[in-house]
Symmetry: C2
Subunit: 285 residues, 2 copies
């Protein structure tokens, strides 16, 4: 009893049972200490405290099957990227990881070499190829690369559309030499959903909601750590201010422009197109 401003935190910590799960004890102790330190530092008025309660409540009410506003909050405050970094400390030479994001879907179509990921979506035709290797430089055959991205004009993912169609996703597999190749449309930059409480939070901080154009990839092969990362389009206006802090220099790739004509898959394009090349390096499991 009779906790004061200085002793209250210890009183709350002391209430955690020594019989509770050690990890629960560790996480809750740390959470309580940091929450209290935050409150001590900013000394919220009662009105500000209640504004915080309302903000969290509204964020919860925004979450449903299609929208996860708490993940968006975690992403835009850099927490998701920090968790990603902590969980994927890769050995030197291996490809760096970045945030998984909310737009992955199981069951994307299996595609042959140079198969079409875009499935008829509008945008600049784009040919992406490269290799998957291990940290000793050896080819990794049979690696499965899940690819997902926005269309090439509006910057939307298929799951953001109401019609339920699947587009701009596919799976390609590396050949005996560790090579992969697919065609698609070049992705464009897009804003994260900003019509909810997180959008309001960003505006109050004077921040924009944009992500630079990128292709999501997840590379998996037995014996290696699954690699979740992005290929970013070099020159994008938002590379230095990604709303979710996902950009790493090593993941920024030149998308070379070409005039209409012969394409890398042996065909022809009637319109200008781009080519990009990226070599993934997997860390052993």
């Amino acid at each position: 009893m009779n906790f004061d401003e200085n002793t209250l935190t210890d009183a709350v910590l002391a209430r955690i049972s020594t019989d509770s799960d050690p990890r629960v004890r560790q996480v809750m102790s740390s959470l309580i200490r940091h929450l209290h330190a935050f409150v001590r530092e900013v000394e919220p008025t009662e009105a500000e405290w209640f504004e915080g309660i309302r903000f969290l409540t509204e964020t919860g009410h925004m979450c449903d099957d299609k929208r996860q506003e708490f993940i968006l909050m975690s992403d835009t405050l850099g927490v998701s990227m920090l968790v990603d970094t902590i969980n994927h400390r890769v050995p030197a030479g291996a490809t760096e990881t970045t945030v998984f994001g909310p737009f992955f879907v199981q069951g994307a179509p299996e595609l042959p070499r140079w198969g079409d990921v875009a499935r008829g979506q509008p945008g600049v035709p784009c040919f992406v190829s490269g290799t998957v290797r291990d940290t000793q430089g050896r080819a990794v055959p049979g690696a499965v690369i899940d690819v997902w991205q926005t269309d090439g004009v509006d910057g939307v993912y298929d799951v953001q559309k109401a019609d339920g169609s699947m587009f701009c996703r596919g799976r390609v597999t590396t050949d005996a030499d560790g090579r992969y190749a697919f065609r698609t449309v070049q992705p464009v930059s897009y804003p994260v959903p900003d019509d909810g409480p997180v959008g309001r939070m960003l505006r109050r901080m004077g921040r924009h909601p944009w992500r630079p154009a990128h292709i999501h990839t997840m590379v998996a092969r037995d014996g290696y750590r699954t690699l979740t990362t992005h290929i970013f389009v070099k020159g994008d206006a938002y590379l230095t201010s990604d709303a979710v802090f996902g950009v790493k220099d090593s993941l920024v790739v030149e998308f070379h422009p070409h005039l209409a004509g012969a394409t890398p898959d042996g065909g022809r394009s009637d319109v200008p197109f781009t080519t990009a090349q990226y070599d993934f390096v997997l860390a052993a499991d």
Copy 2:
């Protein structure tokens, strides 16, 4: 670009515009620093991080017009009490404050001296009286005391019942000598709602959800700071382990037992009853 585990926090902080509101800047900077420090300290796995996202989402979905699970989380983690303490640093001699809680309702009935707060609810009859004074010991006449509490048997507030009736609330006013008096039923200890995510959190920490028996009071008079506090019942089993950390020694009051017979309001009781006496001291505005 190219933030690593160590530089990411500074990158997120640097993104807050210097044109934004200074208070927003201060609060968000502190929040980001403490959130990141928490993540660095506990190094959550991706599964644990997602469990946190789910916990917050479920807490949001639990909130409606009748239930505020985020306030309950704030209360049970000691945050509400810390905010209360920071906002009510009273001068020496003034009555200490405690948490407001979620059960206050506007428009409680005005009662005469010794008026009945309980309005027919079951429980041990109880007579509460005392004075309201300033820190120089002078009587404060015309102070309005809002009183609210559970019934005397089940430990529930009127707003927790579906029938919409109002009970166990009232307003009494001090007389020319600063005296007040009301009758009621002695409140009983009760658990905070523990059928939601906060209840699960308490169980995982090995904590119980009980609050010791108390009468809520809010004392208001022009020229003085409004005082929100509780009168706790001495001897309650949960005084040293209040689920919301609201107990202060100075607020614990003896409820004296009496056999059936003459009561302080000049009447008689056919059953045993209790009497309690508490003097409030208001700080000047």
